[in-house]
Subunit: 332 residues, 4 copies
């Protein structure tokens, strides 16, 4: 249950009510909200005088639920906006990993040339083996930020565990919470108090319900700049690396108020399918795609098989513009 308090309720009273109702207190657009466990469906009549509105919820998808706030929440970074009243869809491009200054500068230049707003690049790699390339860490993050400044791009990188969350908040424009980190309460709660948008990736074994509830950790911390990112789930099919869940994307589009971005590169894991899948994603009418591109995919230090080269990416971007127009979207 979300309880929107009247404007004249004092801070002390709000805290008292929150304690009584086992609720989390959230301030949103000037209003004070108390979010109780969804199992609580009614309030004590003694509290009614303090209450402006009540939203009774079936599950713990609450702040993200369209019955609380319809439409898509607006998320902004730099000069860019997705969601809200915009019809913008963002194309976030860049390499899987930041590998060197030269490499990330080439990627940044490509984005600038194409008029793309936001550059991605992994610095803290959540590799499954201790014996492979683990990313450049803070050094890579600084290179990414430098590339962003030089080419006038916003940048995004992924948090893998809570040991480097502060570095990521400091140096990026959007904080990406990785698929393997998305249950981490330390990270989610820290994102809840950050003053930057958060792109939350769905775990590959995560249900849609759990995924949106992870977003609730951030929203209930006071940060309403949350983007949901579907990047493929793990199924019995292994000819492709994961299975991009566009049924799930349709569900998130319809059943939440959060912008949705899709990641076809990680989903299929092979460059041959990325262009068709990217066009399919944009045709869904969602808020964006993440696409991996590398100056020379064959020598990439991670995910070599799934990264497009610059020409392939350029061709794809042009075709995405056509698809976007066909469904009334504007690429940024």
């Amino acid at each position: 249950m979300i309880i929107q308090l009247k404007n004249n309720v004092t801070t002390a009273r709000a805290t008292e009510l929150a304690t009584a109702l086992q609720a989390i207190q959230v301030t949103q657009e000037g209003a004070t909200l108390l979010v109780t466990p969804s199992a609580i469906k009614t309030i004590n009549p003694a509290y009614e005088a303090d209450v402006d509105k009540i939203f009774v919820m079936e599950t713990d998808i609450q702040l993200a639920h369209p019955s609380f706030m319809s439409g898509k929440r607006s998320v902004q970074w730099g000069k860019n906006t997705i969601g809200g009243t915009s019809n913008n869809s963002v194309v976030i491009g860049g390499p899987c990993s930041v590998e060197s200054r030269e490499q990330i500068m080439q990627s940044a230049q490509l984005m600038q040339t194409l008029g793309i707003s936001t550059l991605r690049g992994g610095c803290y790699k959540p590799r499954t083996s201790p014996y492979t390339f683990q990313g450049l860490g803070l050094e890579g993050l600084k290179l990414l930020a430098e590339a962003g400044q030089k080419y006038n791009l916003s940048v995004i990188t992924e948090v893998k565990d809570s040991s480097h969350i502060e570095e990521v908040i400091e140096h990026t424009n959007i904080i990406q919470v990785g698929a393997k980190a998305m249950y981490d309460h330390s990270i989610l709660k820290r994102c809840g108090t950050a003053n930057k948008p958060v792109l939350l990736k769905r775990g590959f074994g995560t249900t849609l319900q759990e995924f949106v509830q992870a977003a609730e950790f951030i929203l209930s911390g006071g940060n309403d700049q949350v983007i949901l990112c579907e990047r493929g789930i793990r199924t019995f099919e292994t000819k492709t690396r994961f299975t991009l869940d566009l049924c799930g994307a349709a569900y998130l589009k319809h059943h939440t108020n959060l912008p949705v971005i899709l990641d076809p590169s990680h989903a299929i894991g092979y460059a041959y399918g990325v262009p068709d899948l990217s066009r399919a994603c944009i045709a869904m009418g969602i808020e964006g795609v993440l696409i991996e591109v590398h100056p020379n995919p064959k020598v990439a230090k991670s995910d070599a098989s799934q990264q497009l080269n610059h020409q392939e990416f350029t061709d794809l971007f042009n075709s995405l513009n056509s698809v976007a127009k066909a469904v009334g979207r504007n690429l940024i």
Copy 2:
């Protein structure tokens, strides 16, 4: 291994070689092919004089493999063609089940009005419970055929088990093999000798490898008019009925020579997501979609939740045309 024999090899000699090589003999466009188990990688030098070409295969995806025949095989029914050198994508519309003459005539009229070529309607329903509506059977099939004739449409219905395969072959223009029937060798082998296109649905628990191998049963029977249809696989996510596997569709498009059709309606199971998913499917650049539409979905006797009404379908069809154009496809 596919062995293409020289034209002058006698029938008797071909049979002798087939026996020696444990091969299935297939005639295709005038040529005699021997398809051996893929484990066989070499032939006895004594046979070489009879051989025109040899295609060594890694797995039992053989006749469907692009290294045997590149591009997409052309499939025709009525005046319609998909695959081959065409850029056609077919939209096959109609109700989940044929329920009455009035209902199927309404559906047929809608297809005619929109310029759609092919009408679907289930007659033999593979329901999972013995206590629910099982379809009208042959009576429904005759109504479907009647609707096709009256409105000048091709028709397709699904084979559920081998007891009614002959009826379906007789009364439809395309034979649909259902997701639950696609491992049935009796059905597959009978389709292999039928003179009509076969739309083969992927089972919801079926790997891509097994799926294409099921097509090999039909192809090796001599019928090369096979369409692959992905209709959602079963995953851990249950907010949607199934998970439409577009990564799998990308794989099939790239790794086989068979046209691919997608079924977003059965995949998601809810009408709200069908338009976005259908647009995504068409944007993939594949050969078609199956979309369920019902004059009055609320009273449908099966799959009520996922069928569009006539207005929704009409709006969707118009937007599909825009998406098709954006990716260079022509809807039929």
Copy 3:
């Protein structure tokens, strides 16, 4: 809803009521039952005079539900019984495929030596490729029956599609419906009128709900000799061939009145794990296991990797006896 009619209700009246209630009429232990769709929860007061008892059901698991009949139904073949008041667990052993007279006789002799009652052997193989060994068919089935007679064993083989169902009914003591055939209504309905026990395998993509509903097709046809067999489901894990679902087995044991048999060989697909898994299965307190054994697994024509040799099977059988005793079961 299951409606048990009073004994004095006439056949004509029962048929009238069945039609009015969209019910299937089933005779069980002398009583006439009408099984309606579970969505029907009440009956017309006009019918009440004809009704002895009513069982209102939540889902279409009806005749198999413990609230209709508690305990486990008793299933008999030859001198063997499982379920009912027995604590018997059957070990069904034999090769994946019947390959030759010599091979199946060796297997039969091993069963006889160990005091095992029932011999398995595949004759119609549901292979996923048209280019591999498809089984000996009727010839194999006759060899299996011959081996059973010679060594005084009951025999079981699998129906793959409806083209050979009559042969299997004629020559076996238990009809096995394969994992890929279990949605086939022709087969299920024919089993419903057969006078022999049916071992119904769960499809590897089949939910427990659908699985038991498939059993309802047989039960509602009048054959209450149904055994449920879990044989591994398809999951994201591919180091093993399938994932044996013992949580599902616990569910079936608790939530149905049908005996449960497990198939560890097909589940894991590798001989190294079969002994441990078989012991785990028996420790579950269920009605039996199917275990594949071959005189010389290395040269087996199908599933070579998962078959035990005679010594391994003998050692396993002895240890199964110890585990069975520890949980109060008796091996037959």
Copy 4:
């Protein structure tokens, strides 16, 4: 590749070699090991004089691989040992969450009465919703430790994220890394330098390969006291909470040198199935089980449905002893 250096190789030289080979340096039982990426299969002949033995590995399962060390590694805590030459299987019992002093003392007393060595209790709960009970945190951990001391038991609790790893290391005898935290490199690396056994839970979406590779993070950090715990994977089946992967357990038993423990309570999620599943687990011949028990499951603050009451747990424990004996195991 694992390179075991000769005893006379200097520290400086070892470091030089490690750098040259991109290897992690591990000291184990006095020997210095260099573990390179498994992609490296040969070494420069110039290094051969420093090398005692080489183990070439197919994948990055290296230190855990039986070809490096056969048998099961021995893991010790308090007076307890599993693995090595022992045939011990541990039963770890206790509530899902530590809720109060009274509750955890009751649980501890039950363990003592039954002669069970180790008490579990969750303190930092990885709940999927921010609006539900999140555990007592450090307060709970201190209560757990107090209960352990009072009743002379070892204790184990779960690390959910890296913010409380030091507390858990300080107050427990075994560090449990939760299913949602098992990809967290901060946690894994910290465990690698801890002087206590680590029970590593498999993520519900984690492949066996990734699972064992997560253990490699700990092993390559120098801590060889690692226990693998399978606790159910997420599949399409939702009648049970997860699917306990005993095929996977058989794989781990056969293909790694790490002790294996199973968690039937979290797998099925319902108390009715826990006894049968626990007996199945013990019959697998693995090193232990985790079973949830609560003085009054109905009022439990988390996972109420799956916890046994004290009588059920006592009955189960007695039957586990019988099964353990049947398979030559000794419960501790």
